[in-house]
C-alpha cells in the first residue's frame, strides 16, 4: 500500500505525533488570545520548555517529570510577559518579541553541557497487541501518552470555552474588558492566569520536541514551531477543534516533505523544506481574505488599565 515510497498509514500515525508540539502551543495561545492578550513569545516559551523538560527528564530519568518541568519552565517565562503587560502595561507585541529573543538566549546559555545526551524515552502507552492491529493500530493505539493528552486537551478546552462559567469569563475579558471590569471581574488577574496557562502549554509542547521528536538538545531546537502555532491560531479562528485540524494539516505537510526528501523526490531538498512556511502563508491568506474581523477577540492586543 505504498505510494511513491510513502505508506499512508505510517504517514498519518507520524503526523499525529509530529503535530503535538504546535498543537499544545496553539491550544495554549488560543486561550491567551481569547482572553484578549496577544503573546508573540510562544517560540521563546517553547524553547525554554524544551530545555527545562530535557534537563528535568535527564536528571530524574522520568520523562513524565520532564514534561511537567517543561510546562513549569514555560509558565515561569510567561510570567515575565504577564508582569510586563499586565502590571507595567507594556506593549504586547514588543514584549512578546522580547520574550522570544530572551528565551532563545537563556535556553542556549542553560543548555550548554546537555548536547549529545539521550533523554529517557517516552514509551508507547497501549500494549503492542493493540498497536500491531492493521491500519487502525498505528493510527489510534500506537502513540505515547502526550499524543492522547493533546487530543484530550483540545476537547477539554473546547468544552471549557463553550460551556462553562470560566470560559464565559475568559471570553468576556477578551471581547470587552471594560464590561468585564464593570461586572466586577479582575481583568488583569484573569489575563495573567491565562498567560501562565498558555506558557505551560507552550513549554510542554517544547518539551515534546526535545524529549520525543528529536530527541536530544540542540540550540534553537524548536525552529520556528512557536510562530507556526501562532499562525494556526489565526487559521483556526480561535476555536480548539480547528486548531487540531490546523496542527494536523501542518504536521502532515512537514512529515510529507520529510518523506519526499527521503524517498528522493525530483523537487530539490531546499524547496521542500521551505514548503511548510509557504503553505502557512497561503493558509493565512485564504483564512483572512475577504473578512474584516475574521473572528478575532475584540480586545486582542489591547492593555487594560482600571481608571475607576
Amino acid at each position: 500500500m505504498d505510494f511513491g515510497g510513502i505508506n499512508p498509514v505510517i504517514l498519518i500515525a507520524t503526523l499525529m505525533a509530529s503535530a503535538v508540539p504546535i498543537l499544545l502551543a496553539a491550544l495554549g495561545e488560543t486561550v491567551v488570545e481569547r482572553a484578549g492578550v496577544l503573546n508573540l513569545g510562544v517560540e521563546g516559551m517553547m524553547v525554554i520548555g524544551a530545555l527545562g523538560g530535557f534537563i528535568v527528564a535527564v536528571q530524574t530519568g522520568s520523562p513524565v517529570l520532564g514534561f511537567i518541568g517543561g510546562a513549569l519552565a514555560g509558565a515561569v517565562l510567561s510570567l515575565i510577559f504577564a508582569a510586563l503587560t499586565q502590571v507595567f502595561l507594556a506593549n504586547q507585541v514588543a514584549t512578546g518579541l522580547a520574550l522570544t529573543l530572551f528565551g532563545l538566549g537563556v535556553s542556549s546559555l542553560g543548555g550548554q553541557g546537555y548536547n549529545g545526551i539521550k533523554p529517557p524515552p517516552t514509551e508507547q502507552l497501549l500494549p503492542d497487541a493493540l498497536a500491531d492491529l492493521p491500519v487502525v493500530g498505528p493510527i489510534f493505539f500506537g502513540h505515547d501518552w502526550v499524543v492522547y493528552f493533546s487530543i484530550a486537551m483540545t476537547a477539554v478546552l473546547w468544552w471549557v470555552l463553550k460551556a462553562t462559567r470560566v470560559g464565559l469569563i475568559i471570553r468576556a475579558v477578551g471581547e470587552s474588558h471594560e464590561a468585564a471590569h464593570a461586572l466586577g471581574y479582575k481583568v488583569n488577574r484573569i489575563r495573567l492566569m491565562c498567560i501562565a496557562f498558555g506558557g505551560a502549554m507552550a513549554g510542554m509542547g517544547g518539551a515534546y520536541v526535545s524529549l520525543a521528536r528529536v530527541p536530544q538538545w540542540v540550540d534553537g531546537i524548536t525552529a520556528g514551531a512557536g510562530w507556526i502555532a501562532l499562525a494556526i491560531v489565526v487559521f483556526a479562528s480561535w476555536r480548539p477543534w480547528r486548531v487540531l485540524i490546523g496542527a494536523y494539516l501542518f504536521g502532515g505537510i512537514t512529515v510529507l516533505q520529510l518523506n519526499l526528501q527521503v524517498a528522493g523526490s525530483v523537487i530539490p531538498v531546499e524547496y521542500l523544506s521551505m514548503a511548510p512556511y509557504l503553505i502557512t502563508i497561503l493558509v493565512l491568506v485564504i483564512m483572512s481574505a475577504g473578512r474584516k474581523a475574521n473572528g478575532a477577540p475584540a480586545a486582542l492586543g489591547q492593555n487594560f488599565h482600571a481608571s475607576r
Partner: protein, 359 residues
C-alpha cells in the same frame, strides 16, 4: 498599596530618562547573572562597556563599533517608521538576507569585470531585494488583510533556505574546491564595500546609516508622510478622517524598512562578512527590533541605541575570548535590556500613587 494613575500627558522627562535607567538596571541584573555563572560581574561589565572604548585595544575595537552599529541603525530606522504607524515588520532578518543575495548576485554575475558602476548598481539591487521581500507581506496585508507579523516572519525561514541554496548552489564559488560559500569580495575590488576611513570603521554602510538617520528624522518631523505615520499610530480613526490611506501607509513603511534591511545585508556581505555563506547573517534583523525600541522609535535616538548595542556585541566578543563568557550570555543580556526598557516605560504614561483608603 501602590496604584498606577494615568498621566494627563506623557512625561517628557521619562521619555528621555527611561533608556539610561533601563541600561543601568540591565547592568545590575546582568551583573547578578554573570556572578551566578561564576564570573566577576564588575570585570565583565567593564570588559563590555568600558574596554572597547578606552581599554588597551580600543584603537582597533572603536572601529568595530561602527561596523556593527551601521547595519543595526539602518534596519532599526526602517522598522521604527513602521512601528510608529502600528505596522509590525518583524521579518527584517529575511529582507536582510534577500538584499545580500540579490546585491551580491548582481556583482558576482559580472565577475571579473572592472567598472566603477558595478558597486552602485549592486547597492540598488540590494535595496531592491529587501524591498521585494517586504512587499510580499505588505501586499498580502493590503489585499487580503493577512497578518504582516506572521507572514514576514515565515519569510525569514524561507529566506534562510534560499541562502543555503545560494551558498551551496547558484552563487557557489566555482573555484572554491567544493566548499560552500560564494567568491570572496575582498578579491574583487570593483564590487567590494571597502573602508572609507578604517580607524573609524567607516564603510559605505556606515555612511548610508548616518545619512538615513538624518533623512528619516526630517521625514518624521517635517514631511507630510511622517505626520501621517505618527498620526496613524497614535490615532488611527483621526488618521482615516484626515484622509490617510492605511494601505498606502503599509506599502510605504514596509517598503522603506525592507529596502533599508536589504541595503544593510548588501553592505555587510560585500564588506565585513566578505562572502555569501550559509550563516553570514548574525541576527541583526532581530537585534534591530531592540535597537528601534531603545532609541524610542526616533531616528536620532536609534543612532545612539545602535552604538550601545554594538558595544554589547564588541564587548561581548571581548568578554567571550578573555573571560570565557558564552556568546548566549550576551543574547540574554540584550533581551533583558528590552524587558527593562518596556517595564520602565510605564513611567512615561503613568505615575505611581500611594493609594489611601478603600478602593
Amino acid at each position: 498599596m501602590l496604584r498606577l494613575e494615568k498621566r494627563p500627558t506623557p512625561s517628557k522627562f521619562w521619555l528621555y530618562a527611561t533608556p539610561p535607567v533601563a541600561v543601568i538596571l540591565t547592568m545590575i541584573a546582568g551583573g547578578i547573572l554573570f556572578a551566578a555563572m561564576g564570573k566577576n560581574p564588575f570585570e565583565v561589565i567593564r570588559t563590555i562597556f568600558w574596554d572597547p572604548l578606552f581599554g588597551e585595544f580600543a584603537f582597533y575595537l572603536r572601529g568595530q563599533l561602527l561596523v556593527k552599529a551601521g547595519p543595526l541603525i539602518l534596519i532599526a530606522i526602517g522598522l521604527a517608521l513602521g512601528f510608529r504607524a502600528g505596522i509590525w515588520n518583524i521579518g527584517a532578518e529575511g529582507q536582510y538576507i534577500m538584499g545580500a543575495i540579490v546585491g551580491a548576485g548582481v556583482g558576482l554575475a559580472v565577475f571579473p569585470t572592472e567598472s566603477r558602476w558595478i558597486f552602485p548598481v549592486m547597492v540598488i539591487a540590494g535595496a531592491f531585494g529587501g524591498w521585494v521581500w517586504a512587499m510580499i507581506p505588505a501586499i498580502l496585508k493590503t489585499r487580503f488583510n493577512t497578518n504582516e507579523i506572521l507572514v514576514s516572519l515565515m519569510l525569514v525561514y524561507v529566506a534562510e533556505t534560499i541562502l543555503a541554496k545560494a551558498s551551496t548552489g547558484f552563487l557557489k564559488n566555482p573555484e572554491g574546491m567544493g566548499f560552500p560559500g560564494s567568491r570572496n569580495f575582498s578579491s574583487y575590488p570593483a564590487a567590494q564595500n571597502s573602508f572609507i576611513y578604517e580607524p573609524l570603521g567607516l564603510h559605505w554602510g556606515g555612511v548610508a546609516a548616518l545619512v538615513t538617520a538624518v533623512l528619516a528624522y526630517i521625514l518624521l518631523t517635517r514631511h507630510q508622510a511622517g505626520f501621517q505615520i505618527r498620526l496613524a499610530g497614535q490615532a488611527p480613526r483621526a488618521a482615516r478622517f484626515h484622509g490617510v490611506s492605511p494601505a498606502r501607509l503599509v506599502v510605504l513603511c514596509m517598503g522603506i524598512s525592507g529596502a533599508l534591511a536589504g541595503l544593510a545585508g548588501m553592505f555587510e556581505v560585500t564588506g565585513p562578512a566578505g562572502q555569501i555563506s550559509i550563516d553570514f547573517n548574525t541576527g541583526y534583523g532581530f537585534t534591530a527590533i531592540i535597537v528601534a525600541f531603545l532609541g524610542r522609535l526616533n531616528p536620532l535616538g536609534i543612532v545612539l541605541a545602535g552604538f550601545l548595542m554594538a558595544l554589547t556585541y564588541v564587548g561581548g566578543e571581548m568578554a567571550s575570548t578573555n573571560l570565557g563568557l558564552p556568546d548566549a550570555a550576551i543574547q540574554v543580556f540584550q533581551g533583558m535590556l528590552l524587558f527593562f526598557l518596556l517595564a520602565v516605560d510605564v513611567l512615561t504614561n503613568y505615575r505611581f500613587r500611594l493609594a489611601v483608603g478603600a478602593h
